[in-house]
């Protein structure tokens, strides 16, 4: 396959491309589902193909094929070059890429328990374990949808500037949707996912059945003991899970430079962040948000991006100040910078675009007890269901699933559906303490051309920013 990748790059240059990049990807894996105790069937994933991206006269073209012969790849290269030429005529200025250092590298994530050696029935046992543990709680859970998925993702990326990167990354996940019906009322924990880059041992160590049990027990308690959340502005403590979605939506996405420069305007939207906002204060002094693809075993793990640029941690916000955007080579050039390796493609048939990997709020030094001890009236939001944000990433809302009242420094009864509906600036300006314990949470916001990402966060406390209805 290495030869075919090199052939594609050379062919594109021959045909007049000033830049060419070829990416072979192969995904092999298994997925299983269990619905209300019944196995729903087995699905094998075996997908491979090549995508070719070129610049010609300052226009960009991309073509892909899953017929991996020299003829078919050659045809795809011709199409990419032709499309780029035509596109160059409908441009105000040519696309240029930043200068980068490129390497020839092979890397892989090792599996201690290789899921390729495990039978589907044994994998189904993981779901059966969730099913059994949930049933054993005695909580009435009439709808139970469980999913298991694994895949080994093999990539070979070469470009005409000298990159040749080969990687093998296994990914494994378990998800569940559980509907609790008790006392004539119904609550739900939908699309909860536990996911990692690595082997089956990571799922076994994570014990997703314990998360599921915790969820149904909390929902039952919520039904029987839950009270209305306090009205008005009170202190709010959010868990790593809620902090994770908040950094993902209101820091990760708006700092993606293709949104900042309007390239995503028609689909994923633009950003309230503008190029001249580097150095501007966006949050309180204790807010630092890091974006790091190199976190071992994280769902968004990679060491080189899909343009072949070496990855590193990116500090999007440092001590409350906007310090860095996520960039690929096209937007790094526009900003007069080097790329920080944020070019990502979800599949061989997608062009790499700027997307986050693992976004998290940097830890503080508070224990959980210290976070809540001086709160007179507040809410602790442990998990969320509904969430959304406008397409400039400014007006957002998170509705708690499991949440509790905090009164005089103590956790009290559960509260039903507390709502945090707030602007991005208000959200990060309100943070006055950050905890020291970390948990990782993968995120399910997967859309066309965007990789799955895994935000994580630390427990944080926000003063007077919880707005409850």
């Amino acid at each position: 396959m290495h030869e075919l990748v090199e052939f594609a790059v050379e062919k594109a240059l021959e045909l007049g491309a000033s830049y060419a990049e070829a990416r072979f990807e192969e995904k092999n894996g298994t997925s299983l589902a269990m619905k209300n105790g019944n196995p729903e069937g087995l699905e094998f994933l075996a997908e491979r193909g090549m995508g070719i991206r070129v610049l010609v006269d300052g226009g960009m073209g991309f073509a892909s094929t899953n017929v991996l012969t020299k003829e078919s790849v050659s045809e795809a290269v011709k199409k990419a070059v032709k499309l780029a030429k035509a596109a160059s005529k409908v441009r105000n200025e040519p696309i240029r890429f930043s200068e980068e250092d490129f390497h020839e590298v092979y890397y892989e994530v090792k599996m201690r328990k290789d899921f390729r050696d495990v039978s589907p029935e044994e994998k189904m046992e993981l779901l059966r374990k969730v099913e059994e543990e949930v049933t054993a709680t005695g909580v009435n859970v009439p709808m139970r949808y469980l999913g298991y998925s694994d895949q080994v993702w093999h990539k070979i990326i070469a470009n005409s500037d000298g990159a040749f990167i080969e990687s093998v990354i296994p990914r494994v996940s378990v998800m569940y949707n559980l509907v609790v019906f008790e006392n004539g009322q119904m609550e739900q924990a939908p699309f909860v996912q536990r996911a990692f880059s690595g082997g089956l041992e990571l799922i076994e160590r994570d014990e997703p059945w314990n998360w599921a049990v915790k969820d149904v027990q909390a929902l039952k308690k919520l039904i029987y003991e839950g009270q209305k959340a306090p009205e008005g502005k009170v202190d709010l403590v959010i868990s790593p899970e809620v902090a994770g979605i908040a950094v993902h939506e209101s820091v990760g996405h708006p700092y993606e430079s293709d949104r900042i420069f309007g390239r995503e305007a028609a689909q994923a939207g633009e950003s309230f962040v503008k190029p001249d906002m580097l150095g501007e204060r966006i949050g309180s002094e204790i807010v630092t948000v890091i974006e790091d693809p190199t976190l071992p075993n994280s769902w968004g793990f990679y060491l080189y991006d899909d343009e072949g640029v070496k990855a590193r941690p990116r500090y999007l916000i440092k001590d409350g100040i906007i310090t860095e955007f996520l960039t690929n080579r096209e937007y790094a050039y526009k900003l007069g910078q080097r790329s920080n390796a944020s070019a990502r493609a979800i599949n061989y048939n997608r062009e790499p675009i700027v997307r986050m990997a693992n976004t998290y709020l940097a830890p503080g030094d508070y224990s959980f007890e210290e976070l809540i001890e001086d709160i007179k009236l507040g809410v602790y939001m442990v998990s969320f269901n509904e969430w959304n944000i406008d397409d400039r990433r400014y007006q957002q809302r998170y509705i708690g699933r499991e949440a509790y009242l905090i009164e005089n420094g103590e956790i009290k009864h559960p509260v039903k559906r507390p709502i945090l509906e707030i602007t991005t600036r208000a959200l990060w300006s309100s943070v006055d303490a950050v905890g020291k314990d970390v948990e990782m949470f993968p995120e399910l916001a997967e859309r066309v051309n965007r990789d799955r990402v895994s935000p994580s966060g630390w427990v944080e406390r926000m003063r007077g920013s919880g707005i409850y209805r």
């Binding site: 069937g41 094998f44 073509a63 441009r91 269901n385 007006q395 809302r397």
Partner: protein
């Protein structure tokens, strides 16, 4: 590609599989993306693959085969067989449809002019120019052309072929950071393609939306533009699948035969709609696609089914396979009898929402959700439109359907990034819709 299908079927039967479905695809898709009035990238996707479904004593499995050599096909089938032998059966599996069937051509689903279209960039330029002429400063969007060939062979006597084309554009026009409008156009034959209308609508809305003020909160009568309501109906379409109901993802659970919408609401799935972006001659088990009434006069009539789920519930398939998960083709909200002007004149003080995105559920079975209006949002007061911003629709899905007070008489076919399932809908007026906003 039928030779490949037949080889797979023959080998699968030799290995002892029961039900077998082989669905071959040959697809060519082009995309032109544009932003800031220029093309950002042009793409071409070529794919050839077979989707395979097999059953072995009530154990079911599926895979895609993209490397179609005889060796790889045999290897794949043997891998499936060895993996399935140890698995527990799916007790509620009841088989696939018994063929053969007769198929009719669906008008306006194939156009050689789209296959032979050399260069779609002129349509992009026409859309951009139309938006700029309306006053837009920046125009962004995406254009697709599609050409798909489907080859279906099943162990129950089905051999079927369908070939389809499509061309569509989605255009977003901006004046400032906060003033934008969106328009789309999705058709299956080139002569019906109207990229200018998408650009013009986007530009007109952006122009109307200038200098917006913070919107109010409370309960309001809301007029949903077809683009906005299509988003909600697209989410609802998933919830009409019997699979979604069993898995706990539908507000329609246990509501068969009940009133779930205003009596003026009739919602259908139409698999054989002429010029429909989701239309196909047959479903994944070969049953000819058709029209299925899901909600009639406000009453919920049926979930969407494949053969196995239909047998489980003692009824007939609705031709919506998905072998594991039945799904919709084109969702249609039947239009009413209001002109656009009459609809707006019904509202003394309300809100007009031209587009939404990011619809998310607090609880799927209850139907509680919120969604964010984007592009032009307007306060409607005695026929006047006043631009507003920063509001959120926060309500319940069934309550929205029950609150439908009036429907426009013209229908629009919508398909874009936020509306995966094509939806045909008129303008919709809904009473007392919950509106919230961030207060800090």
């Amino acid at each position: 590609m039928f030779d490949v299908n037949e080889f797979i079927l023959k080998k699968a039967k030799e290995l002892g599989f029961g039900d077998v479905v082989v669905l071959g695809y040959e697809t060519n898709r082009r995309q032109v993306r544009f932003a800031n009035n220029e093309i950002t990238v042009a793409k071409n996707w070529h794919e050839r693959k077979v989707e395979l479904f097999v059953e072995l004593e009530k154990r079911v499995a599926g895979t895609s085969i993209t490397e179609l050599s005889e060796d790889n096909i045999e290897r794949t089938l043997k891998t499936l067989l060895s993996n399935m032998k140890g698995m527990a059966p799916k007790e509620d599996y009841y088989g696939i449809a018994e063929g053969p069937f007769e198929y009719r051509d669906i008008p306006e689903t194939f156009d050689r002019a789209i296959v032979e279209l050399d260069e779609p960039n002129e349509y992009v330029e026409r859309a951009i120019n139309a938006a700029l002429e309306e006053g837009a400063k920046r125009v962004a969007g995406v254009l697709y052309t599609d050409h798909t060939r489907l080859y279906l062979t099943t162990s129950n006597g089905v051999e079927a072929f369908d070939e389809g084309t499509g061309i569509e554009i989605s255009v977003r026009a901006f004046i400032g950071d906060l003033e934008s409008g969106h328009g789309t156009n999705s058709v299956r034959v080139l002569k019906k393609f109207d990229p200018e209308s998408a650009g013009r609508n986007a530009g007109e809305i952006a122009k109307l939306a200038q200098n917006p003020e913070q919107g109010p909160e409370g309960r309001f009568d809301v007029i949903f533009d077809p683009l906005a309501f299509a988003n909600l109906l697209s989410y609802m379409s998933f919830m009409t699948s019997a699979y979604a109901a069993e898995a706990g993802f539908s507000f329609l659970v246990n509501k068969l035969g009940q009133r779930v919408a205003s009596e003026i609401v009739t919602i259908k799935d139409v698999g054989n709609m002429p010029n429909g972006y989701g239309s196909r001659k047959f479903d994944d088990e070969g049953v000819p696609t058709r029209e299925t009434t899901i909600i009639e006069g406000g009453t919920f009539k049926t979930f969407l089914l494949n053969t196995s789920m239909a047998k489980k519930y003692g009824t007939e398939t609705t031709a919506n396979a998905g072998l594991i998960m039945p799904h919709t083709w084109n969702i249609v909200l039947e239009p009413g009898d209001y002109t656009r002007e009459e609809l707006f004149s019904e509202v003394k003080r309300g809100i007009y929402i031209t587009n939404v995105w990011y619809t998310r559920f607090q609880n799927y079975v209850a139907g509680d959700f919120s969604t964010i209006p984007r592009d032009g949002i307007f306060l409607v007061e005695n026929g006047e439109l006043k631009p507003i911003r920063n509001i959120r629709v926060s309500d319940n899905f069934q309550r929205i359907l029950e609150g439908i007070k009036a429907l426009g008489k013209e229908s629009y076919h919508i398909h874009w990034w936020e509306v995966d399932t094509p939806v045909s809908t008129p303008y919709v007026l809904v009473e007392d819709v919950g509106i919230t906003r961030a207060t800090k």
